[in-house]
């Protein structure tokens, strides 16, 4: 489904701020894989997702989504393969537009936008049904501006928008990090539900090791722009947070540099 081969990305090359964020990264995902990604600050987790999404082009290597080489494709062209939810609840939605307008925009991902009506009555009914799945009461506020919603509601909406057009790959970039624990749990629950319903191939970055273990069928740990630990199936189910910390120290020779991961 996803095949990343030897991608490299260096920011501010040739300056004092030079930072190699991805260093020959390889990653292969099978159809239906739900991979959780953990790693310290600056390990390259978000950079990897941005490389897949095409926020900028990588310096080296190739990225294939379902056999299609997207390495040189611009961000908006790749969008038809991808569903994305961001860390910042403000990023994933248009605050000054209505809930149903946001959904209609997302529903047209990968399609040509013409002079046809931006939203039809039939679509409205469908979106209403879909919003009910989130169980947040948003189905009764379809014409409310998204800016009026709470962070958790916005993330749940973004999740729905990302999957309204079934994506080949769902990218979740710490999408619960900005939420309070209770809301975060609710959004994670919705994530599991939506991913399971369509059997979506998913990459989820999280700073929470417990979440990383509890969700998905595969876990990878990143360090200095590379995957240093990759575990799946039964072995992953049996992992504990202590195991992960030990593993990290073993491979990297340093302590896990992300307090949030240990404390939460």
């Amino acid at each position: 489904m996803l095949s990343i081969k030897g991608i490299k990305k260096t920011f501010n090359a040739g300056t004092v701020n030079e930072k190699t964020a991805l260093n020959g990264l390889n990653l292969h995902l099978k159809e239906g894989d739900f991979v959780t990604v953990i790693g310290g600050n600056g390990a390259g987790k978000s950079t990897m997702l941005n490389a897949i999404a095409g926020t900028w082009l990588v310096d080296e290597g190739s990225i294939l989504i379902d056999g299609v080489d997207v390495t040189k494709l611009s961000e908006h062209k790749r969008a038809k393969y991808l569903g994305r939810v961001f860390q910042d609840p403000m990023t994933g939605t248009a605050a000054s537009m209505q809930i149903e307008e946001n959904l209609a925009l997302a529903d047209r991902r990968g399609k040509k936008r013409t002079l046809k009506s931006g939203i039809t009555a039939k679509e409205r009914e469908y979106y209403k049904e879909q919003l009910k799945i989130l169980d947040l009461g948003l189905e009764n506020r379809m014409t409310a501006k998204v800016g009026l919603l709470s962070g958790g509601q916005r993330q749940a909406l973004t999740l729905l928008m990302a999957t309204l057009q079934k994506p080949k790959l769902l990218l979740l970039d710490e999408h619960t990090a900005a939420l309070d624990p209770k809301t975060a749990a609710k959004v994670l629950e919705a994530t599991d539900k939506i991913v399971a319903k369509d059997n979506l191939t998913t990459i989820m970055i999280t700073h929470n090791m417990k979440d990383a273990i509890a969700h998905g069928n595969r876990l990878i740990m990143m360090y200095e722009g590379n995957v240093i630990y990759d575990v799946a199936g039964e072995e992953k189910q049996k992992l504990t947070v202590a195991d992960l910390l030990k593993k990290f120290e073993e491979v990297s020779g340093s302590e896990f540099a992300n307090d949030r991961a240990i404390l939460t």
Partner: protein, 309 residues
């Protein structure tokens, strides 16, 4: 200071305000919908008139001249759009560059003259300051411009409700999200700039007819007048309705109010040379008010709560 002279001047101010209202609707598209400050309009507010008058002097019918003016305005918007999106020049600077270039182009269009007059008695003009009073109602400039505004608002209301129009709105609201949803934000920005400048050029074509001449300085400070109309409309009518068509109408009403106020301060004895300074001060104040409110008069109870949950 004769009150009768003020009343006599009001219909003219209304007509001018309406024409500038069309221009302000163009500014609204870039400033409010696309979230770009586009200074190209200072150039296109002259270009449209120049194109329209020159074509009419060559014998073109008025509607054809206005359509060509509209298209030329779109072309100017296209240039700014390319400079901004494809060549990475900040929007404000891209607009200034196009505007400066247009100055030379405008002179070329007008046969290297600073202005080109058109005689209302010899040519069949759509609007004119002579068509304000003592003309049959169907020829009245105020009515004609009002109809043009209603049609324009209806078309824009329809357009921004389409898939394409919605993608322009979302580009202004959140470009990152828009790209993630597969919207080519370069394209939508260029398209928005083209539509905006087309509308401004149309207003320019009408304004030149109204005055009876195209003038190389017609567009100087146009962006400020456009912004003033947008802001006045928003401050006075913003609370009434969130409907998009109503917002566009209130922009046009904002322009009328601007011209009426201008007329009053001139009647009170302000030198017309000081008008630009007055406009700048008024717009600066209105732009500063929302910021000042937030910074100096914020109530702490509004913070936190649902927004951070």
């Amino acid at each position: 200071m004769n009150i009768v002279s003020l009343f006599n001047a009001m219909p003219g101010a209304c007509a001018q305000g309406l024409i500038w209202g069309i221009m302000a609707i163009g500014v609204y598209i870039t400033y409010k919908i696309l979230d770009l400050a586009d200074l190209t309009v200072d150039g296109t507010m002259c270009t449209g008139g120049a194109v329209c008058i020159m074509l009419m002097l060559k014998g073109w019918p008025v509607w054809a001249a206005l359509i060509i003016a509209f298209l030329v305005g779109m072309l100017a918007g296209f240039v700014t759009g390319i400079l901004h999106t494809k060549l990475g020049i900040p929007a404000i600077l891209a607009g200034i560059l196009t505007q400066l270039g247009l100055y030379s182009i405008n002179l070329r269009i007008m046969d290297s003259k600073a202005n080109q007059a058109i005689n209302v008695d010899k040519y069949d003009l759509l609007v004119s300051l002579r068509y304000i009073k003592n003309v049959p109602i169907y020829k009245n400039t105020i009515l004609i411009v009002a109809i043009i505004i209603v049609v324009l608002v209806a078309v824009l209301y329809w357009f921004f409700g389409t898939e394409l129009g919605a993608s322009i709105r979302s580009t202004g609201a959140n470009p990152n999200m828009s790209r993630a949803q597969g919207i080519n934000t370069d394209f939508t920005k260029i398209l928005g700039l083209m539509i905006s400048n087309g509308i401004v050029a149309l207003a320019s074509g009408l304004y030149a007819q109204y005055q009876g001449f195209a003038d190389i300085n017609a567009g100087r400070g146009a962006i400020v007048i456009g912004l003033a109309a947008v802001i006045i409309g928003e401050v006075i009518f913003g609370k009434i309705s969130l409907n998009f068509a109503f917002k566009l109408i209130s922009v046009a009403l904002g322009a009328i109010i601007y011209y009426l106020v201008l007329q009053i301060v001139m009647w009170l004895g302000l030198n017309s040379n000081d008008l630009k300074l007055l406009s700048a001060v008024v717009v600066a104040i209105f732009l500063a008010v929302p910021y000042m409110k937030q910074k100096y008069f914020a109530t702490s109870t509004k913070k936190g709560g649902a927004k951070h949950a």
